[in-house]
């Protein structure tokens, strides 16, 4: 396949200039994720007030898929409730495992090409797993292996 299908411009751009890439001093929920096979590491910081994500950021090191996915995720989760965040993660998992783009969500759909690279699905979901763990107040390290 053409690699531009996997590395859509949204992914390349978010990898080069990740959004919300910082520590969040006001975070009250923090969770780490790692993939021991490739050494990818991510930490997600969430400011969770009432039932809403009022701010979210991340830091870490990893491949373009994992970094871009976390970057896009922080943009899409800000302002969401826990239930909305979980629903969005469910939609995202559908996109990266089945490759069906979601008309309503072009940024998430940029990751549809990942489904053709089964080894890379865990890269795409690493940040999401950490974020959901953080929202549940679980300080455990999410592992995608």
């Amino acid at each position: 396949m053409d690699l531009t299908e996997l590395y859509q411009s949204v992914i390349l751009e978010n990898n080069r200039r990740p959004r919300n890439y910082r520590k969040l001093p006001t975070a009250n929920r923090i969770a780490a994720g790692n993939n021991p096979v490739c050494g990818d590491e991510i930490t997600v910081y969430v400011q969770f007030e009432g039932d809403r994500i009022t701010d979210i950021s991340f830091q870490g090191a990893g491949c373009a898929i994992s970094q871009a996915s976390a970057s896009v995720m922080t943009q899409r989760l800000k302002g969401r409730t826990l239930a909305e965040a979980e629903a969005l993660f469910g939609r995202f998992k559908g996109i990266v495992t089945e490759g069906k783009p979601d008309e309503e969500d072009l940024d998430l759909s940029a990751f549809a090409g990942v489904h053709q690279f089964p080894a890379r699905i865990k890269c795409a979901t690493l940040g999401w797993h950490a974020a959901i763990n953080a929202l549940h107040g679980e300080s455990v390290t999410a592992s995608t292996e």
Binding site: L3, L12, R16, C38, G39, G62, Q67, F117
Partner: protein, 414 residues
């Protein structure tokens, strides 16, 4: 050692045809296999030896008195004799068959437990593969010994030997190190390291996983006490490896695993051990693997290991020199003499993205920490891309590699 029968330079193109797997396309491109540090491909002679063994001679070894068992035992023990010759061991009793390098190193670490006391030290290097680090961590934990490290100088990947004698003097009982670093390509001065160890009365352990298929390895010339390697990194099958141990040391060690084959006599409440090396080989061994390893050793010696070493090292040096001009590249390991591999980071492109990119062009590379996480942590990089070469790789494949890495850098760097 058996002198190499080859006098003229090998016909590398003809040798390539000995490896059936290389004749295929991957993602529409001819396969370029550059993940030989992980495992090498197998020549027809090795594949045929496995088929022949299973079609004609298969039986269990040592205990049977029927014809097939006799043949299987002969083949298995012939492989042991051949392995002794291959690394110039003093006798075939110094050859223990294992599953591979990892099992060989674990065997030593386990079987020497009773000889390590609290306050003793085990010396390793900062460039160890996890398999030559974690078994010693566990040994240290079991015994109360401490681990010491020979430092790595930096990106150039050399051992800093300036403090070696001072380290060895700290109650060190055992010094383990790699012949060739799987992450850096560094060829360590094994005989010098062993000589230092000997002067301090320290047992030396060589991890030869990355050297055995490339360089001539002579355990007596190196002066090592132990040396471990894997068959599958030297054109042989997976599941078989060798641990060489000096006979006098093997005699002092406890068994590793227990079961059939390793016993002399078993009572309900105690047992006595079979003689070395059988004391260390419990259960039915990997007989077919030993047969395949025998074929692989014959195959490599029919080419000549000095020629293979020169060929692989030349490809790696060539790749190293030409990759140096790729924008944003950070090369690891020594600039001069190196084993047959190159390891690098690329600014803006994670190793796994590089590997995915190369894979789409039919090039098999490896990206990640290569089982040397503490080393990369020290050097400040999480993952690198590694290209590792073998006798069937060609200069044209290095051209393709450099071209693809250059385009990858551009793709991700923008």
């Amino acid at each position: 050692m058996k002198p190499s029968p080859v006098v003229s330079a090998p016909d590398w193109a003809a040798l390539r045809a000995d490896f059936p797997i290389l004749d295929q396309t991957v993602h529409g491109h001819p396969l370029i296999y550059l993940d030989n540090g992980a495992t090498t491909q197998k020549p027809r002679a090795v594949i045929d030896s496995l088929v022949r063994y299973y079609e004609r001679d298969n039986a269990n070894v040592h205990r049977g008195v029927h014809e097939l068992s006799f043949r299987a035992t002969s083949a298995y023990e012939a492989a042991r004799t051949r392995a002794a010759e291959f690394i110039h061991a003093g006798s075939s009793e110094e050859i223990i068959f294992t599953r591979g390098t990892t099992e060989g190193l674990n065997l030593i670490a386990y079987a020497c437990t009773a000889q390590i006391k609290p306050g003793d030290a085990i010396l390793v290097t900062e460039m160890e593969h996890h398999s030559n680090l974690v078994p010693w961590q566990l040994l240290a934990k079991r015994t109360g010994a401490k681990l010491l490290f020979v430092p790595v100088t930096g990106d150039d990947g050399l051992l800093d030997l300036s403090g070696l004698d001072r380290l060895l003097a700290q109650n060190v009982k055992l010094f383990a190190f790699p012949h060739i670093s799987n992450s850096l390509g560094t060829v360590n001065p094994v005989s010098e390291l062993c000589a230092h160890a000997r002067r301090h009365g320290v047992v030396s352990v060589v991890d030869a996983a990355q050297s055995i298929g490339h360089l001539p390895v002579d355990v007596q010339a190196l002066g090592c006490d132990f040396l471990a390697f894997s068959g599958h990194k030297m054109a042989g099958p997976t599941g078989i490896g060798v641990l060489y141990g000096r006979h006098a040391l093997l005699e002092t060690m406890d068994p590793f695993q227990a079961g059939g084959e390793m016993i002399a006599s078993v009572q309900y409440d105690y047992s006595t051990w079979n003689k070395v090396p059988h004391k260390f080989e419990a259960g039915t061994p990997e007989i077919a693997g030993a047969v395949g390893l025998h074929a692989a050793m014959d195959y490599l010696d029919s080419i000549g290991r000095p020629a293979i070493a020169a060929h692989d090292s030349q490809l790696a040096r060539n790749a190293y020199e030409r990759l140096a001009s790729v924008p944003g590249i950070r090369l690891f390991g020594p600039a001069g003499e190196r084993g047959g591999l190159v390891s690098f980071g690329l600014a803006g492109a994670h190793a796994h993205d590089v590997v995915t990119f190369a894979d789409q062009e039919g090039i098999a590379l490896r990206g990640g920490h290569h089982c040397t996480q503490p080393l990369w942590r020290k050097l400040g990089i999480a993952a690198t891309t590694r290209a590792s070469f073998y006798l069937y790789n060609t200069p044209a494949e290095v051209d393709r590699l450099v071209d693809v890495i250059r385009r990858t850098a551009k793709f991700f760097g923008g």
